[in-house]
């Protein structure tokens, strides 16, 4: 333990050199199974460190290696390179089988978020079955978003960081085909012409989404 004293002592006066900061981030990220956010890194490192800058260097160092640093929302984690997945058969976790309804609901939440239950049903043309939302919440792939400011103030759903981590996405903006879908108008909440539309949520749907995907 004597070796640990030095850097701590020194940090009272100045931040450790960048190379040392890189080592620290490397250790913290390696030890954690879950992504670690920048503020958390900063909180765990000695005073005066700049994890953002050190991270840039560290990420570069691991480019093309067997493990690399991925960004998940505002957090970072080491993950094995996807092309080596075949070596890891032993570690493969049995994935919970998702029903087709659950997968579609998940995709709709991801692409249309924040989205209400009524909107999901409108898109799928069928009631969301009991337990589907429940299951996705339990897997922590979706969570509650802000309530929609429309009559009834329905709850909305958005995807989680856990979801991004699972599918190797930096942010919901990186969903495959998002731009094309939006350009084709397929993410619009177009109400049925005339008066047959659901009373919920027409006006805010569009704004809610763009708000989320904006930088």
């Amino acid at each position: 333990m004597t070796g640990t004293q030095d850097p701590i002592e020194r940090s009272l006066f100045e931040a450790p050199p960048l190379a040392e900061q890189e080592r620290m981030i490397e250790a913290i990220l390696f030890a954690a199974a879950e992504p670690v956010s920048l503020p958390e890194l900063e909180a765990r490192m000695p005073h005066g460190c700049d994890p953002a800058e050190a991270l840039v260097h560290l990420r570069k160092r691991y480019e093309g290696r067997g493990v690399h640093i991925v960004r998940v929302g505002d957090a970072y984690a080491f993950r094995t390179a996807p092309d080596l997945g075949h070596l890891m058969r032993k570690e493969t976790v049995e994935q919970r089988k998702l029903s087709r309804a659950a997968i579609e609901t998940l995709a709709i939440v991801a692409y249309h978020q924040p989205v209400t239950r009524a909107e999901i049903e409108e898109i799928r043309g069928v009631a969301v079955s009991r337990g589907t939302i429940d299951q996705l919440l339990e897997m922590e792939w979706i969570r509650l978003g802000r309530r929609r400011m429309t009559p009834g103030r329905p709850v909305t759903f958005v995807v989680t960081e856990h979801f991004l981590d699972h599918f190797g996405l930096e942010s919901a903006r990186d969903l495959p085909g998002l731009k094309e879908l939006r350009a084709a108008g397929l993410l619009d909440n177009r109400p049925l012409p005339g008066s047959l539309q659901k009373p919920d949520d027409e006006d805010e749907a569009a704004t809610g989404q763009s708000e989320l995907f904006e930088d």
């Binding site: 390696f30 030890a31 954690a32 199974a33 879950e34 984690a77 080491f78 993950r79 094995t80 390179a81 996807p82 997945g85 890891m88 570690e91 493969t92 976790v93 994935q95 089988k97 998702l98 087709r100 309804a101 997968i103 579609e104 998940l106 995709a107 709709i108 991801a110 692409y111 898109i123 799928r124 043309g125 069928v126 009631a127 429940d134 919440l137 339990e138 922590e140 969570r143 509650l144 981590d165 699972h166 599918f167 190797g168 996405l169 969903l175 495959p176 085909g177 879908l181 084709a184 397929l186 177009r190 049925l192 012409p193 005339g194 008066s195």
Partner: protein, 262 residues
Amino acid sequence: MSDEDWSADERLSPADRLSAEALIVDVDGYEGPLDLLLTLSRTQKVDLRRISILQLADQYMGFVERARALRIELAADYLVMAAWLAFLKSRLLLPPEPGEDGPTAEELAAHLAFQLERLQAMREAAARLMARDQLGRDFFARGLPEDVTRLRKITYGATLIDLMRAYARIRTKDEFRPFVMDRDHVFTMEQALDRMRGLIGYAGDWADLTSFLPDGWDSNPMRRRSSTAAHFAAVLEMAKRGQVELRQGETFAPIQLRRKEP
């Protein structure tokens, strides 16, 4: 679509689905009328944007007819869709009534086409999502997260589901009552009076006041005291009105009562 988790299955392939019977047998497999319409639309073998809604309406109604002929119960929403498509079809075929308000038949048809295209797009998006490299299948987190120090801090966790279930559990126990001070331990004199009026008709002989206390109010001391006091006050009131007679052998002895003969 190669992903095994993604069971966007064989029934989507039109080749396997040419016979109407196959469609009918699978009716349970459809996730609602829109899903069925999307499947039927594939037999047209055109871009969804150029789909013939008229033809689709015919296909759908044909399906519903055959289901009826085979005495298969269709859920209400399938029938609602059939009725709506019949309406749409008649609007598409007939010239618009002069002075008619509301959306044109073409607008309604275009909206249906949009819904089909959007559902199809979401299916494809879902398939692409599931085909991505996934954590725990294609790439991996640290298998041996390190817990180096002996410092052990206990944190208590709960998920949102836990929270909502807890609330649901409380709220289904009984309906929410606005806050009143433990009213369920209090028996009022009015209540006792109502009760005694009903009971006194049977009390021709002297009987202890305590035998009139309601069931379940003698187990808990607070409830016993409250109900005793309320019933005592009630019989005093009834004695005043000449409805009962009261007697007590000595101080603290049981109070007895009987109906006063008119």
